[in-house]
């Protein structure tokens, strides 16, 4: 197997992980594909030392995260301005178009629910989605997120809380103490938005 073929196999093994991380942080597949390409080109430059490294997954994830955050920082003024100008009412209208309620019966499968959750996550305003993803997927603390995003701790907490509330509201997730449980762990269907 040539180096080129080896690298192709290496890419195929990690491309989903890199792409998923990028999509969740950036919110668009086109930008995520661009960043993923950049990540693998960086990996290619260091392939000799990476190919046998046991921490290559972590390295790829960190590089992806940093490139995504750099990408967002480049457009920071723009996306923060628009996201913070948006009111709670506006957020009600930002969700994806779901099927009509009468077809909901067919969407109860877990796969469908995951697709909906993924779609709602991607539709969150960047100011909410980015810290939410860093907290829940990248296991960063509030303080680390605040430092990385150069935002105040209270703003990070508020944005994450708003993001969670939006997810709960749009997917009709129920917390314990309430009548029903939703999502994959309950019986509630996602609601039409």
């Amino acid at each position: 197997m040539t180096d080129s073929q080896q690298f192709e196999a290496f890419m195929k093994a990690y491309q989903n992980m890199v792409f998923t991380t990028a999509v969740r942080l950036l919110g668009t597949e086109a930008e995520a594909e661009d960043v993923s390409q950049e990540v693998f080109l960086k990996a290619y430059e260091r392939y000799a030392e990476l190919k046998d490294s046991p921490t290559v997954g972590g390295w790829l994830k960190t590089v992806t995260r940093n490139l995504c955050l750099n990408h967002l920082t480049r457009y920071r003024a723009r996306w923060r301005f628009f996201s913070e100008m948006r009111s709670e009412d506006d957020e009600e209208g930002t969700g994806p178009e779901w099927a009509a309620p009468d077809t909901h019966e067919k969407q109860v499968a877990a796969g469908e629910h995951r697709q909906l959750l993924e779609a709602v996550l991607q539709k969150l305003p960047p100011a909410q989605r980015v810290p939410l993803v860093l907290y829940h997927f990248e296991d960063m603390s509030y303080e680390e997120i605040a430092t990385r995003l150069r935002a105040s701790l209270s703003k990070v907490k508020t944005d994450i809380h708003r993001g969670r509330e939006t997810l709960r509201r749009k997917l009709k997730l129920k917390m314990s103490g309430q009548e029903e449980w939703g999502g994959l762990h309950g019986a509630e269907n996602p609601c039409p938005i």
């Binding site: 829940h136 997810l167 709960r168």
Partner: protein
């Protein structure tokens, strides 16, 4: 929402999000990257960044650059003289000399400040410096506030 409710919401969302599987990368990604890799591999060495050039090429290019600069200076000065404008160094010195009134003014200002400090006591000088410093800081603070407001940074 109280703290308990907040914790429940956090756990609920965490569980939901962590249950999400990885997304499938587009089919085109591998091809895009491999194409970019091949293009990079086929690039001749002289189109790559200078730091990646072979050592001999780096030394040679550096020597060529130094010779070019030296040649430009030498032949440029000769051409200058041949054109009858005179020695360029003399011209530069004349230009520096034309700045002497500025130097005199600066010297007068320092002497005046020294005289004031001697006659009125150094406290006036310190107060003056303090006022100037405060005004400078006020300008910096106003500029920072405007910048942050414009870019919506916190």
């Amino acid at each position: 929402m109280n703290e308990r409710g907040e914790r429940q919401l956090e756990q609920l969302v965490h569980r939901e999000l962590r249950s999400l599987p990885e997304l499938a990368a587009p089919e085109t990604l591998v091809h895009r990257v491999m194409l970019a890799v091949h293009v990079k591999e086929r690039q001749p060495w002289w189109q790559l960044p200078w730091v990646t050039w072979p050592r001999s090429a780096q030394l040679g290019s550096f020597a060529l650059f130094a010779a070019t600069v030296a040649g430009l200076v030498y032949f440029g000065a000769s051409a200058w003289q041949a054109a009858g404008i005179g020695n360029p160094l003399v011209k530069v010195w004349e230009w520096v000399g034309s700045l002497s009134p500025l130097w005199d003014s600066l010297q007068s200002l320092v002497n005046t400040a020294g005289l004031v400090a001697k006659k009125a006591g150094p406290q006036y000088l310190f107060v003056g410096l303090g006022v100037a410093g405060s005004m400078y800081l006020l300008c910096v603070a106003t500029g920072t506030a405007c910048y942050r407001l414009a870019l919506n940074r916190r």
